[in-house]
């Protein structure tokens, strides 16, 4: 999807969310990615998710590394601060930003090269620390900006556009996130907005490390037959385990479900996740079973999507560090500097 410049006047007649913002208020600059790029669909889903969650754009920080995916934070939430940082190092920058202001909603956008190759170390440690972030990988199995090299998530045996077969085993970021202790782990497909938007909403409302692996085909370098990250391949092999509905704290549950088909998971801020089971017998609150099922389906060449794991009552890095409720960047000199009297005592003890 490519944004066309839209006339401003239309904004007045557009619907507004509970805090008075239109969807346009969550959009950003015009995308410079290729027409049909999966990443633009993810950006659109992010816009939708923030709009529906009634989050003020300026209370969000968009973090990214380097690559096609990492450019996208410029294309949504134009009224938020953003940080396009260093290749593979977004997690550390996001950690610092989170430490400085725990009230800021952090969304991290990365790619498979940025996260699974150069950035695998920082990804791993952000997950295990419980960084409070919605960490989205736009996973297409190739390096786009440098023109089509395999990335570390490319499946073994899959073919590049030039016909080269990938000999290396793939890194499954979902399996990794589960193993590392992420407390919200999902996989989705850029072509399935209905599935993706609620998953992003749930991740944004999750307090802790929330990870979504979004298979987002590269129309230019990895959308051919022989690729396992093409639109056609993913549509054919996608097995969704559940559908998620995110119910905000003061929102009523209006959808009706058959008894026994829905599991309710409460998040720290009072948001409820309603998980509607699909065909599979799948329990998203059991980390070990999730890992096993994931491996079984991977072995069959099928892609499990949906909310694959969520830990109820999860906590985050700030909880582990026992930091004060007030954001650190709002503490005053009086709250931070002990003053001369303390120094006099210290001096006396050092003689």
């Amino acid at each position: 999807m490519t944004y066309l410049a839209k006339p401003r006047l239309l904004a007045d007649v557009q619907p507004r969310n509970a805090i008075g913002f239109t969807k346009r208020d969550y959009e950003g600059a015009i995308s410079t990615l290729c027409a049909g790029c999966g990443h633009d669909s993810v950006s659109a889903a992010i816009v939708q998710a923030f709009y529906e969650l009634d989050i003020e754009p300026h209370r969000v920080a968009k973090m990214s590394g380097i690559g096609c995916s990492s450019k996208t934070p410029d294309y949504f939430l134009g009224a938020s601060h953003g940080f396009n940082s260093v290749h593979g190092r977004m997690p550390s920058v996001a950690t610092g930003a989170s430490l400085a202001n725990r009230e800021l909603t952090l969304i991290g956008i990365s790619g498979d090269g940025d996260t699974a190759s150069i950035g695998i170390g920082q990804f791993a440690h952000a997950m295990r620390r419980g960084l409070n972030i919605a960490y989205i990988v736009e996973n297409n199995g190739v390096y786009g900006l440098t023109k089509g090299q395999f990335s570390a998530t490319a499946d073994k045996g899959s073919k590049s556009k030039k016909g080269v077969q990938n000999a290396d085993a793939p890194i499954d970021l979902v399996a990794l996130a589960l193993q590392l202790g992420a407390t919200y782990v999902a996989r989705s497909f850029s072509g399935d907005k209905d599935q993706l938007v609620p998953l992003i909403k749930g991740a944004l409302r999750h307090q802790g490390a929330a990870f979504i692996d979004v298979i987002s085909p590269c129309v230019t370098f990895n959308n051919h037959s022989g690729s396992t990250k093409s639109y056609d391949y993913v549509r054919e092999h996608n097995e969704a385990v559940n559908r998620v509905e995110v119910i905000q704290p003061r929102q009523e549950i209006t959808t009706e479900y058959e008894p026994g088909s829905v599991r309710r998971v409460m998040q720290h801020d009072g948001t409820a996740l309603l998980l509607r089971k699909l065909g599979l017998d799948y329990d998203p609150t059991d980390r070990n079973r999730a890992m096993n099922q994931l491996h079984e389906w991977n072995a069959k060449g099928e892609i499990l999507t949906g909310l694959l794991f969520v830990e109820e009552g999860a906590d985050d890095l700030h909880h582990h560090l026992n930091t004060v409720a007030k954001p650190l960047n709002q503490l005053t000199q009086a709250e931070l500097c002990p003053g001369q009297a303390v120094l006099d005592k210290l001096n006396a003890a050092l003689r």
């Binding site: 934070p73 190092r89 950690t95 430490l99 400085a100 560090l321 930091t323 001096n347």
Partner: protein
């Protein structure tokens, strides 16, 4: 052989095995001397190892107050058989050897020109104590007691210090005091006390405090309001974060909730440390990391980003021997160029050079003001000699009227009032733009941070003119920094001279002594201590006012001199190298010798000195 005789002016060295518990006993000996009003200056010489390797504690006692390393040794407490031969060899003729004589050693293991004092420490301990752990540990305090007798230290001072060290643990206090008394009594009974080298109570310490530089930096960071520290363990910087953690627990715990007004994260590596610090600085807190050379090497890419994205942060580099793994437990000033031009592309960074713990405290606090005023990374360049050794220095002071300088941060009120916000535009002519902190205003002041490809409004741009605008503004900003950074300290010689010497950092105490030595010989040298890069105009004036300027450094390639030549375009001939780089702290003797030699070779010694 005439035994050395000296009062309050000698070097004592303890040769121990590391992990044997000797460190606290050695320090107690040093503090006892200090409590008698005598200036001291100890240095740990230790291996990169936990247990079983040789370690030394070298204590200079100087009635004249010289705190630099002297070299040589007047009294050796040799307790490590592994290093026996070299320890004995290091004693000056007429020196004293104290050793554990439980096991007899052949005559050939000693020297004829020294006084040998054998105390059967192991045997006495075996006789006095039954617990094997006590037998081992009390041996250390026992030799402190014996030394007190041999060197006329007041035993009461030792006992007071034992009481302070083990406050609340009465059993330990009594045990240690007892061991000290046993050692003292043994020495009194078996030797003529005191020896030729001895202590005498004076008033030479004044109100000075005794602390290591790393702790002082940690305290400076607390006072400066740093709330985020991200780090990766590396010698010799690790104790900065350990001390910061301790001070924060004490002074930054919310009294009502017990929650922390700080966040300290031990990162997975130095890349993550600097990344976290950059993210935190960008988001409006004062953040820092502490590391050493290898860590700086790893941080290069992020330092470049922080420079160009104009993010305030502080990096403490406690320098050690390099390159590569180098000598992790030895001191050097060899990261000057690495830090000054860190990262690819055209970068220049602000460096501060503290001389002692007091300045470690003060310049750390200043570093946070500077990094926010200038919106750039600021490096605090210290080294192992300052960082990991306790040093007498002026007490810490904090002006209660001092306010943090948070720099040009645009507020919601200013944005509402219609003040123009363009993230990278120079509106004040000093090269420093205005910034906003995320979540400041619902509709104004947000911007997208990225590396080089942006214009003054922080919009994506690959135009050469936009890039050049930023680069030239950054150059202006760096010029602005020149007069904001700590200014140099000039010490004129007693008589007018065309000779100058320029130095920085931990060279300071050795330099003060060297200047006094040279002056006594009639060689007059004006001195300037550089405290920051970029160099202030005072540095230019000093170099211009002298025919020859010795540049004294603790590295092999004359790094600060390179910086002076590169940035100030001085003639290399005018700047004479004086370089010390074996990993030990530089000495006054070395500096004076180098200047003397260079001086006489070039016939620079002023003639009037004999007149």
């Amino acid at each position: 052989m005439t035994p050395v005789t000296a009062t309050n002016d000698f070097v004592v060295k303890f040769a121990n095995v590391n992990g044997s518990g000797s460190a606290s006993a050695n320090e107690m000996f040093a503090r006892s001397v200090m409590r008698m009003g005598i200036p001291i200056s100890p240095r740990n010489i230790f291996p990169s190892n936990i247990q079983g390797m040789p370690t030394w504690y070298e204590l200079r006692v100087s009635k004249d107050g010289w705190l630099g390393r002297r070299g040589g040794c007047d009294l050796m407490v040799a307790l490590n058989p592994q290093t026996w031969d070299r320890d004995i060899a290091e004693l000056v003729p007429g020196g004293y050897l104290v050793y554990d004589s439980t096991r007899e050693l052949p005559r050939s293991k000693f020297r004829e020109d020294i006084t040998v004092i054998g105390i059967p420490l192991t045997a006495i301990c075996a006789q006095e104590f039954t617990d094997p752990n006590q037998r081992k540990l009390f041996k250390n305090i026992m030799y402190v007691g014996a030394l007190a007798a041999l060197m006329d230290l007041e035993l009461g001072v030792v006992e007071t210090l034992i009481g302070e060290q083990y406050r609340g643990k009465d059993k330990l206090i009594e045990g240690n005091r007892n061991a000290a008394r046993i050692g003292h009594a043994y020495a009194m009974k078996h030797f003529t006390c005191p020896l030729g080298i001895r202590c005498e109570r004076v008033d030479g310490v004044g109100d000075r405090i005794f602390i290591d530089g790393n702790s002082a930096i940690a305290l400076g960071a607390v006072y400066a309001g740093a709330t985020v520290a991200a780090w990766y363990p590396i010698t010799p910087s690790t104790s900065i974060i350990e001390a910061f953690t301790g001070y924060c627990r004490k002074f930054r715990t919310d009294p009502a909730t017990g929650a922390a007004r700080y966040a300290i994260v031990q990162a997975e590596d130095e890349l993550a440390s600097i990344g976290m610090v950059a993210g935190a600085g960008w988001n409006g807190v004062r953040a820092f990391t502490a590391t050493s050379g290898p860590g700086i090497s790893l941080m290069q890419e992020f330092i470049g980003l922080a420079y160009f994205a104009e993010i305030p942060l502080v990096i403490v580099d406690v320098q050690r021997g390099g390159p590569s793994t180098g000598m992790p437990t030895r001191t050097q000033q060899s990261d000057v160029l690495l830090c000054a031009y860190a990262s690819h592309g055209d970068t220049r960074h602000v460096l501060l050079f503290p001389e002692d713990p007091n300045e470690c405290f003060e310049l750390t606090a200043q570093a946070f003001d500077l990094c926010e005023r200038l919106q750039t990374p600021v490096f605090l360049m210290t080294d192992l000699d300052i960082g990991m050794n306790e040093r007498l220095s002026a007490p810490f002071r904090w002006d209660e009227n001092r306010h943090y300088d948070r720099g040009k941060v645009m507020t919601a009120a200013e944005l509402d009032a219609g003040k123009l916000f363009a993230r990278y535009q120079d509106v004040d002519g000093d090269g420093i733009p205005w910034r906003t902190i995320p979540a400041t205003h619902p509709s104004k002041g947000a911007y997208f941070t990225r590396g080089s490809t942006r214009n003054a409004q922080a919009k994506y741009s690959e135009l050469g003119s936009d890039y050049v605008y930023n680069l030239e503004r950054l150059r202006r900003k760096f010029n602005t920094a020149k007069e904001l950074v700590p200014q140099p300290v000039v010490t004129p010689a007693a008589k007018p001279t065309r000779l100058g010497v320029l130095f920085y950092g931990s060279t300071s105490p050795a330099m003060a002594e060297a200047l006094a030595m040279l002056q006594a010989e009639g060689v007059h040298v004006d001195a300037i201590r550089v405290r920051a890069f970029p160099f202030s105009s005072q540095v230019d004036a000093f170099i211009e006012a002298h025919d020859t300027v010795f540049v004294v450094e603790q590295n092999e390639s004359a790094q600060l001199r390179t910086l002076l030549i590169n940035e100030g375009e001085y003639s290399p001939k005018k700047l004479v190298k004086v370089l010390h780089y074996d990993g030990t702290p530089i000495t006054a003797g070395f500096i004076a010798g180098a200047i003397r030699t260079a001086g006489s070779a070039a016939k620079l010694a002023p003639q009037q000195s004999h007149g």
